[in-house]
């Protein structure tokens, strides 16, 4: 009596997650929904500013000028987008496979911390080697941190959502201890690590942007190539589409999940160390700024595609930088940009869910 199951009604592997993301129904919708969400949020933001007595169009004009009208704006945007791109790429891979991790923040901290520890209190190595080995340590630590969640899922069936979230707090505690005691700069009065010194990332020649931005830019096509052109990328797609099909034709889902989470963690660890080596130069208690959560928005807005992640990260970073500048000219509450960014997400989520509702009956 069993009818062939409609693929759209196959229950999701994680029942508690409810409906999970599947590929967009059409190319048009895949672009229209994020663009529409951005526009709608900008309109609402404009209304808010108008209520405040600020002319929205001139304010937005100032935002655009704040980014494109000066070198500093472009530099700031690139620097701010760098960790978002790297983190967003990792989240995108995981979510493509429908492995819902929210642990990027913890992996970012763990990676940065381990890399910094290696570079500041590890073996004395010459500059370039120190930088490269520090990056490697950060990448491996991020992957391992994320791997704990994968292991707990495979071994105990513990939800990745919860375990990855909990691990964020453990990482935050580790950060607090490390900068206070573990790898503290003994010469400093406030808790912070030693500066990276020779392991710091140089600027891209001729710009004020550190090399990490280039790394992030290169990571985009690299990840796109991995997803499209390798067996692993293929398995990510199959896992996201249907774990049982993966199990029957390609590989064990648990193994692919572990690889996916490790890769996401590696990207987060890389992002963490790049941020230290390129921007903050040392670890402080204020290092955790929630980029790991913003990265989830970046990945979603980017439709879980590498190029989309790049665009979304640049957009969110540009909005922040541009509004910073616009606030100098107009009396705009500093939180307006946050509200607009948050509205983008809310509109995106609602629009995305609505766009999937009709035409789901496929045979």
């Amino acid at each position: 009596m069993t009818m062939t199951r409609d693929p759209a009604t196959v229950p999701a592997p994680d029942g508690v997650l409810g409906r999970v993301l599947r590929g967009p129904d059409s190319r048009a919708a895949s672009v229209a929904v994020p663009v529409g969400a951005v526009l709608a949020a900008l309109v609402v933001g404009g209304v808010l500013m108008a209520v405040e007595g600020v002319a929205p169009l001139s304010a937005y004009g100032e935002v655009v000028l704040g980014v494109f009208g000066r070198t500093r704006g472009l530099i700031d945007t690139a620097v701010m987008a760098t960790p978002l791109i790297l983190l967003g790429l990792g989240v995108a891979v995981a979510y493509r496979a429908r492995v819902f991790t929210i642990g990027a923040e913890g992996q970012y901290i763990a990676g940065a911390l381990a890399g910094t520890a290696w570079a500041t209190v590890g073996p004395p190595l010459p500059g370039l080697l120190l930088l490269v080995s520090g990056l490697a340590v950060a990448v491996l630590t991020g992957a391992a941190w994320s791997g704990v969640a994968a292991w707990m899922l495979a071994r105990f069936g513990a939800s990745v959502v919860i375990t990855s979230l909990l691990l964020n707090y453990v990482a935050a505690a580790a950060l607090a201890w490390a900068v206070r005691v573990g790898i503290r700069d003994p010469g400093s009065f406030t808790p912070q690590s030693r500066p990276l010194g020779a392991a710091a990332l140089p600027d891209i020649p001729g710009t004020g942007v550190h090399l990490g931005f280039l790394v992030a830019l290169l990571a985009v096509p690299a990840l796109a190539a991995v997803l499209r052109r390798t067996r692993f990328g293929f398995r990510v797609e199959v896992l996201g589409a249907h774990p049982e099909v993966l199990a029957a034709t390609e590989a064990r889902p648990a193994r692919t999940r572990l690889a996916v989470l490790a890769l996401a963690g590696a990207f987060a660890g890389l992002a963490g160390f790049v941020e230290v080596a390129g921007v903050t130069e040392r670890m402080t208690p204020a290092f955790a700024t929630g980029y790991g959560f913003t990265a989830i928005i970046v990945a979603l807005l980017g439709r879980l595609r590498p190029v989309g992640v790049l665009v979304a990260a640049l957009l969110l970073a540009g909005l922040t930088v541009g509004f910073d500048e616009a606030e100098r000219v107009f009396i705009i509450p500093s939180t307006t940009v946050g509200v607009i960014q948050a509205l983008i997400v809310v509109f995106f989520v609602a629009g995305d869910a609505l766009s999937r509702r009709p035409g789901r009956r496929r045979r």
């Binding site: 196959v10 599947r22 067996r231 996201g240 589409a241 249907h242």
Partner: protein
């Protein structure tokens, strides 16, 4: 007194009619057997009567009143209750809590003592013992089923439908259940037992209706007017047995060998299938076919015994090794095991095979083109999602992939189910061609005619055990009897 009457019921899923104008009359005070093969439409018909599904056409009357709204609640209020094969109890709740959920006594839920007493009262009244103090998930299946029946009786069901109730029970429990049904009928209720087992039709039913392919072939005739052979014939039909006309090559090498392989419901099985041979496996769902299918395809390891192909064990949970080892797998549920719906047709051709480094999408799709043409997969070319293909084209896609490269073993589970005749014919031909090229084929089938046409030998799985192989010319009556558990008695 007529408990329920169904007239001209039609229901189709997609293009395939599941019920094609069915009439049925159920009387109070009788135990009515609804008999038929898999897919004959028994469950669909009864789900409509229970309000779990709605007819496309036709009318339903319960106790003389026509039914307007088809919902479980509406029909339950009219005294119809159905115990489905998959129980609908909440596993974490106790028996008493499940009863309270179905029929709350008020705003407050009953205390543990009170709930227990209610279960005990019902259990005693109807002679259906159920432990009341543990969560349902710790009850045996027999207890769960009794609780399902108690819950229906608690709502004062006048018409009780039991779907394959004995499938999950041991013999003594099955006998007790039939006695209970008799007692309920004597109490003035109507009881319908959906079954494919002849033994219980004769053991406890008054009248029997037989469905075949969505149509009634025996309308409520007294069981006493029939014998096993006549009912088995009604179930499987009387068309002349087509012979495969294929001849097994004598002395061909043994490719697939099972040595006492057992898993779950499947009892230890010894079997040898030769190169070029098609072994048909017949039987009703739930008699071990799914387990055998999974053993042969390496989805699961045998709990005992061994499964080997050309002397090497079937790789378990290592699908790429399975493919590399020349084992083709056409699963019964293609959207669960064979095709990733959201991925493109070309990508689906690549599942389980293909290099580490994949060529660009355009080239992959170009390479898929000739394969799709050879298999006549229509529906938009290599770049469309596999989910958009029709059933026939989707199945051709699966076969195009699995039969590529000359397999040594083909595991085909209901490969033509739900397909249009043209696609079904092509798929049969291609599988037989694979056999002609030296593959051993195990063909799980639901339709006897098809199995008779393709199989060089045929075994029937019943109760997890395989019969001695049948050989052409097949005796339809004997096979039908074996499927209905006839060998046991």
């Amino acid at each position: 007194m007529i408990a329920a009457a169904l007239h001209g019921i039609r229901r189709s899923f997609g293009s395939a009619p599941a019920l094609d104008g069915v009439d049925l009359e159920l009387r109070a005070g009788e135990v009515h057997a609804l008999l038929g093969e898999n897919g004959a439409g028994k469950t669909t018909l009864m789900r409509i009567l229970a309000g779990l599904d709605r007819p496309d056409e036709g009318t339903v009357e319960v106790a003389g009143q026509p039914i307007g709204e088809f919902s479980p609640r509406a029909l339950r209020e009219r005294g119809v209750a159905m115990v489905q094969q998959h129980f609908t109890l909440v596993p974490t709740l106790t028996a008493g809590e499940n009863l309270a959920l179905a029929r709350p006594p008020g705003r407050l839920r009953p205390g543990a003592r009170q709930a227990k007493r209610r279960v005990a009262e019902l259990a005693e009244r109807y002679g259906l013992p159920v432990r009341a103090d543990v969560p349902v998930e710790r009850l045996s299946v027999g207890e769960e089923q009794r609780l399902e029946i108690l819950r229906a009786l608690d709502a004062d069901a006048r018409l009780l439908i039991l779907d394959e109730p004995t499938a999950v029970l041991v013999d003594s429990e099955a006998e007790a259940l039939l006695r209970t049904c008799r007692a309920l009928a004597d109490d003035g209720r109507a009881v319908v037992i959906i079954t494919h087992r002849l033994a219980e039709v004769f053991a406890g039913c008054d009248r029997v209706t037989v469905l075949r392919r969505g149509a009634v072939v025996c309308a409520g005739e007294p069981v006493a007017d029939h014998d096993r052979a006549s009912l088995a014939t009604l179930m499987v039909g009387t068309a002349p047995t087509a012979s495969s006309g294929r001849q097994r090559v004598p002395g061909a090498q043994v490719r697939l060998r099972l040595d006492g392989a057992a898993r779950g419901r499947l009892q230890p099985l010894d079997l040898a299938v030769h190169a070029g041979e098609v072994l048909g496996v017949a039987g009703v769902d739930g008699n071990g076919q799914a387990e055998l299918e999974e053993l042969l395809a390496g989805i699961a390891a045998p709990e005992r015994g061994a499964v080997t192909v050309d002397g090497e064990p079937v790789p378990v949970a290592a699908p790429r090794e399975r493919v590399a080892g020349g084992i083709a797998y056409v699963p019964a549920d293609r959207y669960r095991r064979a095709l990733a719906g959201p991925l493109t047709v070309a990508d689906n051709l690549e599942l389980g095979r293909g290099p580490r480094h994949r060529p660009p999408a355009a080239r992959r799709q170009a390479r898929a083109e000739p394969v799709l043409a050879e298999w006549d997969v229509r529906g938009g070319g290599p770049a469309v999602p596999a989910a958009s293909l029709s059933g026939g084209n989707a199945q051709k896609l699966v076969l195009a992939r699995e039969l590529a490269g000359g397999p040594r073993l083909v595991v085909a589970a209901q490969p033509t189910r739900g397909l249009d005749p043209e696609a079904a014919r092509m798929i049969s031909e291609r599988i037989l061609a694979a056999a002609a090229d030296g593959a051993a084929v195990v063909w799980f089938g639901a339709e006897l005619d098809e199995l008779f046409a393709v199989a060089d030998r045929l075994v029937v799985l019943a109760g997890g055990r395989a019969t001695e192989p049948f050989t052409p010319p097949y005796d339809r009556g004997a096979v039908g009897l074996a499927m209905a558990g006839g060998h046991a008695s």
